[in-house]
Symmetry: C2
Subunit: 427 residues, 2 copies
């Protein structure tokens, strides 16, 4: 099949008629498939079954410092909880604050504290006439939802293969003190899968910010979530903590991670790592909100994943389950759309998503067509602030959750819908 | 021993000398006892050991509606989680929002939402020039700490045996629209142990409030925490939800409870119950903060405490462990201080505390003396807003945590310190 822009109007029309028949046949199958969110599949969840019975008797419930993890207390986490999360966060355990089951909550609350109380003595952001955040796009819809709810203005900056467009970022932060932060998913980004280059990390750490209390929200959600078994093919990201400290801006970053896509997404452990000053402020402010998070769950996790080797081994089992799903999606996109000139997509080495760009003006239509044929995708526009993708081109593909035969059916529908939407837009 | 006010100055001096010798002997024992917080003891924690192994295999991890509790989702809780918490909260499961391990966080966040977004369309409290809360005293220090951190002005109102002084409360809320809420621990109050009368509940529900968005923060922390086995001797509190609805103020209340003092304080389940409108608003706002709380832990709890009978049976085991501790404290206070005219204290039928009032101006000194003799009590003043008990008289006694022999030693010190502080104040 030649590129669609080589076809004349009549050929496109014929092709669209053919595709519409194919689409109607797919629709008639009555599919009910969900590719909307980056959720681990049941086989992945089963990998953590031993964690369910990690603690069985009262004597199992004590941390290495003698704390009875059943009772109240220990706001920032037990020693082994900090050690586990420090490993995910490239941090010193002393600089780690362990929270509950969701890093989303930790990130939301960190921004809420900055709004209410400022950062290390700065004016509370809520008292300023404007607060703005830089949002690399495409990005993560739940990051944007936090900012939107708090009325923080979002400034989209394009993602590249090496991270956000740093020329644009540096210009924005240098000139405008109301620009208070940036969202970063530094490794296997959501949704592109790109990993920040060392240069990007160093520029973020050292750039001149008009706002003294500028904060890099470093959501390292996919820190150990490699798809490739061979270490040479795994991405590595420079630690923002070291980079910021070296650049003389030790308080600029807040690092976040969780075990959501390592053990049980609904019952994991999350954490924040930051400078001693930032952690100390967080402990002080959080002490009005909490006495301590679930220490039994910290203990379960720490005993299930006691070493870096155990963690790497566990993650390689995840990769073995989901790698074939990514490969299938890539193959079906190549086979179905390759050379047609109507789409491009990423080929990530880790994380949970493939970022797909159709022709401008086709993403909403593609998602709608797929939905009507029983395949739910992440909403078009979700990867942009305010749900508004100005080109209406980007779609996030989440291959992990469906069983592989369902994924194949879903991708068959997707490819058909992309082609139909492209032809409709061209005609 | 006659009442201290019958003694002349020389007799008091002699007595203080005797007590000082007794105190020095106690001090020489080198005690290290902690009665500062209302923490369950190890024997109580052991009662919930079966919960550790309630879920053992993947097939155990599904809720009754088929949800895989290991994965993401279900923001307001699984059906059986809602049912369990509805039982604690006297609520319809549909009106229950299940959260994480701490009702303190739920209450903190409810106030944070009112500050940021108002209540059901009202002006965000943070935009008002003043926000005030009524705080029945003595009360719970962590309630006060939330308000203090957010800069909400606290107005103390005396607690009585039937709840807060309602004449004072009604006058405050009627005249001042900046009075936005009241803290209530309606059953076995912290620290007095008093339970609100039906009349108090009805007056709270029906009183005329200048603020349309006035909220009763109904912290039913001790809802099933009876000390008495005989049902006739157990307190019951009228449901604020029914009372508010009957009074035409269905959105006025937010009810809170947790399993912290039922199962594991550090790894329990908490919840809020409120009108459908309030719950719907909370779900909408919380959706930026969380995807769902720990559903595996909800499932563990629901299976461990599947019925009202199982819950009552479990709570009677707690009572059997801690009732002798309360009885010992009462006996040592009676024997040591009865008739001296220098103190009074409560005799609660449930909850976690005894509220103690010494002579004005003696509470800080008593706590200090006890601390120097190795017995840590809740700080004097903690039961008042801003830690400021204007009479310096109230001390919260928390008998549950120490083993009974340690409790006896601690109370021996306490009684001695109370008498010394009283005589010092009189001399």
């Amino acid at each position: 099949m030649p590129s669609y822009d080589q076809l004349n109007s009549s050929q496109r029309k014929t092709l669209l008629d053919d595709l519409t028949r194919e689409y109607d046949a797919l629709k008639a199958k009555g599919l009910a498939l969900d590719m909307s969110r980056g959720k681990p599949c049941a086989d992945q969840l089963d990998l953590s079954t031993p964690m369910l019975t990690m603690l069985q008797a009262p004597e199992d419930c004590f941390s290495e410092d003698g704390t009875d993890c059943r009772n109240y207390g220990v706001i920032a986490g037990i020693p082994e909880g900090k050690q586990l999360m420090a490993r995910l966060l490239d941090a010193d355990p002393e600089d780690v604050f362990v929270f509950g089951n969701a890093s989303l909550t930790v990130m939301h609350d960190a921004i809420a504290r900055a709004l209410d109380f400022g950062c290390l003595g700065s004016t509370p952001w809520a008292e300023l006439s404007a607060v703005k955040f830089i949002c690399p796009v495409p990005g993560y819809d739940r990051h944007f939802a936090i900012l939107e709810q708090f009325g923080i203005q979002m400034i989209p900056v394009p993602m590249t293969d090496t991270g956000p467009d740093m020329d644009a970022v540096e210009e924005l932060v240098a000139k405008d003190a109301s620009v208070k932060g940036i969202w970063c998913v530094p490794k296997y980004s959501n949704p592109s899968g790109a990993t920040y280059s060392d240069e990007t990390v160093r520029r973020l750490a050292s750039m001149k910010c008009a706002a003294d209390d500028f904060r890099i929200m470093w959501d390292n959600a996919y820190c150990v979530h490699h798809l490739m078994g061979d270490e040479d093919q795994q991405d590595h990201v420079l630690d923002i903590g070291i980079a910021c400290t070296e650049a003389g801006n030790p308080n600029r970053y807040l690092k976040f991670a969780s075990t959501s896509k390592i053990t049980f997404p609904g019952a994991g452990v999350s954490a924040m790592a930051a400078s001693a000053e930032n952690i100390s402020e967080a402990k002080r402010l959080c002490s009005a909100q909490m006495i301590g998070h679930d220490k039994l769950n910290q203990l379960r996790h720490a005993r299930f994943l006691p070493t870096a080797e155990a963690l790497a081994d566990h993650m390689s089992k995840h990769a073995a389950i989901i790698r074939p799903k990514f490969q299938l999606v890539e193959k079906m996109l190549d086979d179905g759309l390759g050379g047609l000139g109507i789409a491009k997509w990423t080929d990530p080495r880790g994380g949970y998503f493939i970022s797909f760009d159709g022709l401008p003006g086709t993403a909403k239509r593609t998602v709608q067509l797929a939905k009507e044929a029983g395949v739910v995708l992440t909403g078009a526009g979700a990867t942009w602030p305010y749900g508004d993708d100005p080109k209406d081109a980007n779609i996030r593909i989440a291959p992990t959750m469906p069983p592989i035969d369902e994924l194949e059916s879903a991708m068959e529908v997707f490819v058909c819908c992309v082609k139909m939407a492209a032809l409709e837009a061209m005609l």
